[in-house]
């Protein structure tokens, strides 16, 4: 799973914070030179405040996306069509939890406590990938999510293994090693359904119809309304632009859909020989910004599920603390 850097407004993040911190020019120049030379920045190294803030926002959003990303799939755990599918889905969901934890731990190295990030998610202050605010209506959605959503995530995440912040890059190496299983199990579900009964074929096509455009939106706003892209690229936080990655995803995915005999729900989709890639239709950015603002079909349900899980788990954390205190008293005695 993945999120691109999101802002809550419909302005695509054009509002800049009024307070600009003035950095020491010598330190800033040394920092710029280091990232330009593809050096990694580590937790205790000097970094501009804006770099730290951008990273905390991006990494924690990414972590939130992994955690919230468990929910649409969790919806099908107890309705998986076979024990095999259930075991696979459970393993995938556990991976998503793991990815969230790698990323929270990377974000914490920047000095933001885990509590603060979780609180920001629960209060709605923090964003997560828009894709998880769409519902999973049929089992075919589990296939489409693995194939498309995790496929888009891989496109986004592979370059992040070389992102300039060391702890983030290392977390991404771990994530990428595990992500390929997610995509393949999803595509396999789609393969089975696309070759199944007419009803199964219809379900597979319907899932593709509903997940295609939200998957393209996962790459974030177009480059010309993504004002922080230039700086994030310079600082090697991002390694490719949103549009570049989106194009790559379309080019790789279309033949996969053709193999399944499923059609991509885009009348403007056409191979362009000149650019050796596909031209595709206009994305509905109004829908995207509405979902970013929290107006996705199941946004409220998602956050409620998170806060319920957090509150219902409170006694476990308390019990663990009390147990630890009792043990340490015993050890001291």
């Amino acid at each position: 799973m993945y999120t691109t850097e999101l802002k809550s407004g419909s302005d695509g993040g054009k509002k800049r914070s009024k307070v600009e911190i003035v950095e020491d020019p010598a330190k800033l120049a040394a920092f710029e030179a280091r990232v330009a030379a593809d050096e990694f920045i580590e937790a205790k190294d000097w970094m501009p405040e804006a770099y730290r803030k951008t990273l905390v926002r991006q990494i924690s959003q990414h972590a939130h996306s992994e955690i919230v990303g468990m929910l649409p799939e969790g919806n099908w755990l107890r309705r998986a069509p076979s024990l095999k599918r259930k075991a696979i889905l459970l393993a995938k969901i556990q991976d998503e939890a793991g990815h969230g934890l790698y990323l929270y731990s990377a974000a914490e190295t920047l000095g933001t406590p885990r509590d603060e990030m979780i609180e920001a998610l629960h209060s709605g202050k923090a964003k997560y990938s828009t894709i998880f605010n769409y519902p999973t209506l049929t089992w075919a959605d589990i296939g489409a999510i693995g194939w498309l959503v995790d496929g888009a995530a891989i496109m986004n995440q592979v370059p992040l293994q070389r992102t300039s912040y060391g702890p983030y890059a290392r977390a991404m190496v771990r994530v990428c090693k595990e992500e390929s299983f997610h995509q393949r199990q999803g595509y396999e579900i789609m393969t089975v359904m696309a070759n199944g009964t007419d009803a199964q074929k219809r379900m597979a096509q319907d899932a593709l119809n509903r997940w295609w455009w939200p998957s393209l939106m996962m790459f974030g706003p177009p480059d010309d309304s993504s004002p922080n892209t230039e700086r994030s690229m310079r600082w090697r936080i991002k390694r490719d632009t949103n549009d570049e990655l989106r194009q790559l995803f379309v080019d790789v995915t279309v033949p996969q859909a053709e193999y399944l005999n499923l059609s991509i729900p885009d009348a403007d989709l056409k191979f362009n020989k000149e650019k050796d890639g596909y031209d595709f239709g206009e994305i509905d950015w109004d829908e995207f910004y509405a979902v970013v603002r929290g107006e996705g079909p199941v946004a409220k349900e998602r956050i409620k599920a998170r806060t319920d899980a957090w509150e219902e788990g409170a006694w476990v954390r308390e019990a663990a603390m009390v147990h630890a205190q009792k043990q340490s008293k015993k050890d001291a005695a």
Binding site: D45, Q94, A171, E178, R317, E318, M321
Partner: protein, 96 residues
């Protein structure tokens, strides 16, 4: 209500197979060392990535200061004679 801040931070080190040293993998929050070990196992070794795990309270790690890099590591910088390539080997000597 206990919040996760009460569960302190632990650094996780994993030996991926016999013969290799433990290597830093990331961190976990836990109330005690047992919980830290189990959380580390669930988080970092879901695919048999480890045969042994160390967990260390993050507060117990002392680290060198990156701002003092130059002075701290300076003693090693001018001692190129520690490297074998500092010494010419006569052409006549074929093996050394």
């Amino acid at each position: 209500m206990a919040d996760i801040g009460d569960l302190s931070l632990w650094e996780v080190f994993i030996r991926t197979k016999g013969g290799l040293s433990h290597r830093h993998a990331g961190s976990v929050h836990a109330a005690d060392k047992r919980m830290a070990l189990e959380a580390a196992r669930d988080t970092y070794t879901r695919r048999m990535e480890g045969v042994s795990i160390w967990v260390v309270p993050s507060s117990q790690v002392s680290a060198s200061d990156p701002d003092e890099y130059d002075s701290f590591f300076e003693p090693a910088k001018d001692k190129i004679y520690r490297h074998p390539t500092f010494y010419p080997v006569p052409d006549e000597i074929k093996n050394m």
